[in-house]
Every structure is written in C-alpha cells, then in structure tokens.
Amino acid sequence: MSLLASLPLYPLLSFLILISFGKRLSWVMASWVSVGAMGAAAFCSMFLVNQLSTSDTSVITAHMWQWFSIGSAKVNVSFYLDALSAVMILVVTGVGFLIHLFAAIYMKSDENFTRFMAYMNLFIVAMLVLVLADNLVLLYLGWEGVGLCSFLLIGFWYQEKSNVLAARKAFIVTRIGDTAMVIGLFLLFKSLASLNIAEINQLAQTTISFTSNSMNAAHSDAYWAALLLLGGAVGKSAQLPLQTWLPDAMAGPTPVSALIHAATMVTAGVYLIARMNGVFLMAPEVMNYVAWLGGITLLIAGVAALAQNDIKRVLAYSTMSQIGYMMLALGAGAWSAGVFHLMTHAFFKALLFLTAGAVILALHHQQDIFKMGGLLKRLPVEATLFLVGLACLIALPGTSGFFSKEAIIASLWSSPTAGPSLWWCAILGALLTSIYSCRLFFLAFLGKARFPENLVISDHIETNKLLRGALFILALLSLFGGLVTVDLSSLFSSYKPSVVSSIDSPSWLHIVAIATPFIGIIFSWFYYRRYRIVTDEPLTASHSAWIVFCRNGLGFDTLYSTLLIKPYCFVAKLNKNDLFDQILMLIAWYVRIWRDILSVSQSGSLRWFAAAFGLSLVGLICVVTL
C-alpha cells in the first residue's frame, strides 16, 4: 500500500479506536492515540510533499479500488497529489496536528473527551479525502463528511438548545450549497462524460459543446456547471448568500472553531474552485461572479465584525472576510495568490482562535470582549501571540498575511474578470480589517480590566508548556510562513491570450495597498481611544439600531427566516394531515354516510325483519302479477 493511500488511515484508525473504546480510555491514552495519529499523518504528509518535489512527474497517485462506474466512466477511490493538494494536506495535517495537541489539553476536563477527539480525527479523515480525491464524487464524500463532522462538533455540547440549533443550521445551510454542487456534478457528467477532476479540467477546454451551447448561446454548460460548483463553494466557505451559518457555528468548542471553521473546512470552497479551474476558466462570467461575491462578502463581514461583542464571533466574521479575499483572488484568476492566502490564513487564524481559546479558558468561558480588558498585563504571552496573529490578519509588512494579501490585491486591478472597482473593495476591506482588529485588541487586551478579579486563574494555562508550544509554532508559521513561496502557476492553466486585457496598473496601487492597514490603525488609535485607555467610566456595547443590525450579520438571518424558514414551517404545519390523504378519505366519508343511512333499516329486531320480508314479498308479487 502506498504512503499516499495510508495518509487518511492514521486518523481513521485513531477514530475507530476511540469510538470503540469510548470512555474506557483514559485521558492519556486517548490523547496519545489521537494526537499521535495526527503527528504520524503530519509526518507522512511532509514526507509525501518532499517526495513530490523531487519526483519528476509532479503528481503522485494512489489507486485503491473502483467505487462504482457510471456508464463507461469509472469512479474510483483514488488519491491524487499535486502541488495544490500538497499545500492542502500540509495545512490540514500540520495545523491539524497543532490544533489536536492544543485540544487534547484544552478539552482535558470534558467528560466526553474521547468522543471529541474521535470526531476531530474523523474530520481530518474526511478533509484529507476531500483534498486528495481524484474525482468529484470522492471529493463530495469528503465534502459531506467534513460537513457531518462540523455538525457533530458544533453540537458537541448537545444538551444546550442553542448549540443544537446552530449545528442544524450549519448543516442545512451548507447542504443547500452541496445540493447545487451535486447538480453541477450531474451537468458535468452529462456534458463531459467524466467525473475525474484531471479529465474534466482537460476536457472542459477541448470539448466544444461544453463551452458553446447551441440551444442557449448566452449560457453554456460551462457557465451553469461553474455556477453550480460555485454554489457548493459558497455554502462551505460561508460566502454570500450562504454565509449565515458561520457565526453561529462558533457555538462549538474553540479548537473546533480553529480547525474547522477557520483553518481547513471553510476553505474547502476555495480549494474546490481552484481545483476546478479548468471549468471556471471556460466561464469568465462566473469568474466575475466569484470575484464580486468575494468582494461583497469581505465588506459585509468586515462591517459585521466591527459590531460584534463576542471574541469568537469577531474572528468568525473575520474568517468570512478573509475567505472573501481568497474568492476575490480566484475570481481574478490569481489562483496561486488565493491558495497562498488560504495557507497563511490557516496559520494565523488558527493562532488567533487558539489564543482566544486560551484567553476564554483563563476567564472561565467569558467570551464577551466588553467584559475583558487589560489582559495585556495579566496574560502577556497570550496577548503577544494574539498581537502576532492580528498583525498577520491586518497584513502588516513582513508578516505572512502581508505577502499573500498583497499578492491578491496586486492581481486585481488588471484582471479581466475583476478590475478597479473590486480593487477598491479589497482596499476598503483591508481598512475594515485593520479597524476591527484594533477594536478587538483594544477591548480585550488594553484598557481597564472589566472582569471580576478572582476570575483569572492563570496557572491553568501557564503550566502547560505543550499548549504554549503549539501556539508558538503557529505564531512562527504566521510570521514567517509568507517566506515560503507557493508557486502553483504551473498547475493552473491561464487565460487564452485573447481574453487577457491590456489595462495597465497605475504605479500608486502598491503604495495605497501597503499604506491602508496603517491608516486603519491610526484611525482606530484615535477613534477607539476610550477602549484603549484606562478610565473609570463604564464601557458598554452600543445598542443603537444600526449597530444591532450589523451585529446580527446585516439582517440576513431575519431575511432568510421570513423568506424561507417560516413559509416552509408554515406549509408543513398547515398540511400536517396530508392533503392527499384527506381527499382520498373523502371516499371513505362518502361510503360512511351511506352506511349510516342504510343501517337505520337494519334495526336488528326480528319482527322488523319479518315484517319487511313479508311486505316486500307481497310487493314483489304485486309487481310481478300486475
């Protein structure tokens, strides 16, 4: 069995062990098994990537068995490792390992610790299948698998009603996107007769009927297929219009938010689009939609992040907004930049979430930033790590976020599918990013301590070197991860020469882009003055209508609730007794009426029967004789 095929086996084995022994495993055993399996997977994937870079084929494949065949097309359980999936497996296993390590300590006291680690391992299995799949059906398996694990982990503390609802929402909203994606698969199969990713990317460019549809000239199969795949990506990556589940998903334990809802699963949509670049290139309109969706999402999420009170929700909206950048990059055709940002984002967002988790744990599960403050002095290490993460998020020069975000912004202006207006979107988004980051840092770490004194029990955290270790490695990766050059350009086919536009980028673009974060910081320094200085005046969250509107994610939840959920529930309740059943039961009702009428004559009295018999006989004789 090849090394590649064995990669998902380590977490799978660990999952099976944890699930079959359950609570009989001690904490030490369970964490050794699960974290060890992740370590093995991380080591294995590093080895694989090394193997890939030295091999001359630039692709490693592993064929396991034929899953099923659709007509003549075979759907195999096979893995396919190229530079793109190599980046992904490094992120998934590497960051995944660190988060597992953190989680083993973070969740130590939970009574369902083994179940938690089992889910986390299962998630890694599904995620690896997703990124390694060589065909779209297997990818869909991983895709649904991560969705299920996300559902299970959001609802991990299932006794809380709100967690259960958040989990359900996450699953169903992403399922809407998944359904679009499945229809996309049907369409791709119909027009290209294959579901193998490499073949599709190849065929998409050579099959004429795919790009030009004689029936409907404006919208070819390529257009619809790309649009439907985008639907899947939008659902998973929490982009407009299916973004509403992500903030609620923060109900899960913090390591889950770091692993699933920041570093890996939510970027699956970005991966999908990058993977299917051959299809998207054939549909420039859809590339344009991707860019616009990304652009609008990053603005909306940025605005919403400005109004949040919950530290994890700020980070959730910030994740949404950063994925918006990745989408923007993909839409602009800057595939490498998008994937690069995916990688750096995984580092620094995992760092931010885990540090936030450490802070939350230290404050006994206090997540409201208005009840924090002054933590710089109380938790200096965490504060520094958080600051590092924020610096990357803001994209201060030198950090990893800077390289990736600059690469994205630089590609926008002259791209035929993006353009100057989206460039301005990205700049505005960067400004918003720096403002909400400053607000978050000021509120949580500067100013007056607004929590009861006895709440900080720091030894809980301080003593754990392992936990700190995981955070330090992530911090190092965030700071210097940008120096790794991710060159995927050989992987992605670029535009045909005819589409390349001739817009020249003005020279001031770079200066503006680099200056924007600083403008944001300076602005916040003055605007959020009362958040950062120590005063005695009480600090409370604003309750003005506009702020509340932004805090609730700009009303999308309300909109969907009125437009979709309530009508569906209403119709369901209205027709609870099944209209068709009622109609068919009308027949029964009709028969019953006649029964009631006729049964009056059946009095059961013998004399009545005799009289009726006799009289009818007389009547009959009369009729016959007369």
Binding site: W67, I70, V137, L141, Y158, Q159, R168, I172, I183, A572
Partner: protein, 482 residues
C-alpha cells in the same frame, strides 16, 4: 424444485412454528421464534446454494419450474429467476432475519400465529419476485397481502384496525386494476395466437397496439404505484407503518415497497416499453412530487415512525424517477436505492421499535438527549439518519447519485427539482436525530442490548460495505438491462 421448496418451506415452517409454539416435544420446548429464525436461516442458505450452484446465466430470466396448474385456462405454475429477483430475494432473507430478531421480545401474545403470518408474508414476497406466470404472480401478490394485514391488525398499535383496513383496501383496489389488465393481456394473447396464456415470456412476444397498451400499462402502473407508493396514492403508508408492530414496519418498508418497484421494472417497463416511454414524463413528475412532498411531510411529523414513513415515500420517488428515465445508469441507481432503502429504513424502524420498548412512545417530543444515557444507540441513530439523508459512504448515496445522474441525462429540469429533496432529507434527518438524541436529556434509557446491537451493527455494516463497494450489487444486477 428447490425454489418451490423454499417458498412453500417458509409457509410450512410458519405452520410448524404456529402449531408447536410453547409445546414440549422430546424434552425440547419449541418456541415459534426459534423455529422461524432457524428455518429462515436454513432456507436462506438453501437459496444462496441454489443460485451459486445453478451455473446459469442470470442476466436473462432462467426458468426453474413450469408445471401446468389450471389447464383449462392454460395457467402454469412457473418460477424463474434473474439477477434483479435474486438481489431482491437475498434482501428479503436478510430483512427476514432482522424482522424475526426485532420481534424477539416485542411479540409475546399469540406469538405462534404471529410468526406464521410473518413467514407467510416472506413466502408470498419471494413468490412475487420469482413468479413468471401472471396468474401465479397475482396469487402471490394476494398471499403476501393478507398475512401482512393480519400482522398490522392483531399486533399493531392503538389505531391498528383502521390502518390495517386502509392498507388492505388501497392495495386490494389497486391490484384489481392489475387483475383486469392481466386478464385483458391473456385475452389479447388468445386473439393473436389462438391460445390463452398467462406466461410472462409469451407476453413479451405480443405486439399490442399502442392505444390498448397505454390502458393496460396504466392498470399495472397504478397497482405498483400504490405499492411503491407514489403521491397521490401514498396515504396508506404512513398509517400502516405507524400502527404496525416493529417487524411489520420493517417488512413493509424494507420489502413490500420493493415489490412495487420490482413490478414497475419487470412488468410496466418491459411489457409496455413504448407505452411507458410515452407515459414517462407524467411518471417522472409524480416521482419528483413524491420526493419533495414526502420530504416536506416528513419534516412536519412529530411521530418517529410516521416521519420515517414519509421519508420512505421520498426515497421511493428516486426509484420511480430512475425507472422511468430509461437509462442504464439510472436503473443501476434504482436497484442500489431499493436495496439501500430496504436496509436503512429497516434500521430506522428497528430503532423506533427499540425506543418504543424503552419509553412507550413514538412521539419525538417525548424524546431528547438519549445520547447521554445510550451513546451506542445514538451512534447508530446518527448513522442511520445519515443514510437516510444520503451521506456519501453509505449505500443510499450511491443509489441516489446514480439514479439522479442517470435521470439527469433525460430529465434535467426534473432532476434539479428532485435534488431539492436532498435538502429536504437533510432537514428531516437532522430533525429526527437531534430531537431524539440531542438536547436536554428528558429520560434515562438503557443502551442497546447484545441482540439489538447485532441488528443495528449488521445493518450498518451492510450499508457501509454497499456504500464503499456497491459493485457487489451493481456487478451482479447490472446485466438485466444491458
């Protein structure tokens, strides 16, 4: 001879179970459940041996028995098998074991008669799957109906008489239409060839005018659509499923619904290819309506079994859509969906039975938080709900995916609507799982016993194996349509 032995062996061992129940012979206390379990296992292995050693090419129908039965009407006793029927008969035997095991402790009253009815139904079902004389087919069709009605009416829940009668009338009235069509076909055969015939292979040769064929096809179609069931003839199903004892629900959902799908494939499609192709758009529309309507209705239910019953309607819609898209890929999907749904709905109904035994309620509002006290049950509940909403890696996904891919080649717009059913299934699947196993624990329930663990574990095992390696069925049942 062997096939006859299996069919009547089931009936006979049912009678033995009935007669010897709770009696002591030769120092051994006979119990109906043991007698029926052992005989089903023995006859099931007989069947596998029969198929394994017969050395025949089951891609085509292979005749096993043909004896003249009622010679004046040229009615034969004829049994034949092909891959489609073998697949479904194997499914029947698997679910027969499940049915007996779930009734193990549930049925205490009149258990002898109960197992007789159960085995009589199996024998009828196997007869339906193997009969190639249409009169015989109709005979078995009725044979499986009557004991099933008895099971609902005698061992059912609070509203059992109503449900049993509703089930009986729906099926009976619809099968009368089929009887008319059968007689008409025999008559047409007489007109064309001079002799009356009820033999399936003879009918395949007939050349029927499209106008007549349209009506005859409808006669068969309605009978099978009621059994399947398809909207608007589905409403017997929620009542029957809800009121039946656990094994009754398993039997209904797992096997009896499949007879409808089997009939659609074997008789509607193959006997009247042209007429059904003309009818396909209407049938496909009905299928899509079933998918969406079933999913929507499932969401509205608060009764565990009723919810699963409506989800069955939704799933069987996929089968009907696939059957009527006249496409090899979709046929494969239909067969996998049939088997997968047989297993997954059997599993969900078994689970409902297990919960009912613990809390004596089927109401979802009485449940909640069971995960805490019964984590193993919760795990299985999750897996079976996941199967119901088509999680890849479980058999249902392969079936639904193939059905929809195939149907998409023919009815793209309808498949887009049908795919919305995937969202609907996620909604009711989540509702079912979360209302039962998540939330604040209302009651403490016992976790699964060894017997229950075996039932759930083997069903889940089969679902996973078929989910990752569906070629077991596909490679086998494939040839029917080639």
């Amino acid at each position: 001879m062997m096939l006859t032995f299996i069919i009547f062996g089931l009936l006979l061992s049912g009678s033995i179970a009935w007669v010897t129940d709770n009696k002591v012979f030769a120092g051994i206390k006979f119990q109906a459940k043991w007698v029926s379990l052992l005989s089903v296992l023995a006859l099931g292995s007989c069947f596998l041996l029969l198929v394994y050693f017969s050395n025949q090419n089951f891609q085509q129908l292979q005749l096993f028995e043909r004896v003249s039965w009622i010679s004046s009407l040229n009615i034969d006793y004829a049994l034949a098998l092909d891959t489609l029927s073998i697949t479904l008969i194997v499914l029947t035997f698997i679910l027969a074991v499940v049915c007996i095991l779930v009734s193990w402790e549930e049925i205490q009253e009149k258990s002898g008669f109960y197992y007789f009815n159960l085995l009589a139904t199996f024998s009828g079902v196997i007869g339906v799957f193997s009969a190639v004389d249409m009169f015989l087919f109709f005979f078995f069709w009725e044979v499986m109906l009557i004991p099933m009605t008895a099971i609902i009416a005698i061992w059912g829940h609070e509203n059992r008489y109503f449900a049993a009668i509703k089930f009986f009338i729906f099926t009976q009235v619809s099968s009368l239409l089929m009887l008319v069509a059968i007689i008409a076909m025999a008559y047409i055969h007489q007109q064309q060839t001079g002799v009356m015939s009820f033999y399936y292979q003879d009918w395949l040769m007939l050349d029927i005018k499209i106008g007549v064929a349209q009506y005859l096809m409808l006669g068969f179609f309605i009978a099978f659509a009621v059994k399947l069931p398809s909207v608007p003839f589905h409403s017997w199903l929620p009542d029957a499923h809800t009121q039946a004892p656990t094994a009754g629900s398993v039997l209904l959902a797992g096997i009896l619904l499949k007879t409808g799908a089997y009939g659609l494939i074997r008789f509607v499609i193959f006997l009247f290819p042209q007429a059904s192709e003309n009818f396909a758009p209407i049938a496909a529309t009905l299928a899509v309506i079933s998918i969406l309507y079933g999913a929507k209705m499932a969401f509205a239910q608060s009764d565990f079994k009723r919810l699963v019953a409506y989800s069955s309607i939704s799933h069987m819609g996929f089968v009907m859509l696939a059957i009527f898209s006249f496409n090899e890929i979709a046929y494969q999907g239909a067969i996998v969906t049939m088997v997968a749904h047989g297993l997954s709905s059997a599993a969900l109904f078994s689970l409902a039975g297990m919960i009912y035994q613990r809390i004596h309620s089927r109401n979802l509002n009485d449940m909640g938080g069971f995960w805490q006290s019964a984590p193993r049950m919760g795990g299985f509940g999750l897996a079976f709900a996941a199967a119901a909403f088509g999680l890849p890696g479980l058999a249902n996904f392969v079936g639904e995916f193939l059905s929809l891919v195939g149907a998409f080649q023919v009815f793209p717009i309808m498949v887009v609507f049908a795919s919305l059913g995937l969202i609907g299934s996620a909604i009711y699947g989540m509702l079912l799982f979360q209302k039962t196993f998540q939330g604040v624990p209302l009651k403490q329930v016992q976790d699964l016993s060894v017997r229950e663990f075996f039932i759930c574990g083997s069903l889940l095992g089969l679902l996973v194996v078929l989910g990752f390696y569906p070629n077991i069925i596909l490679g086998y049942a494939f040839g029917v349509f080639a």
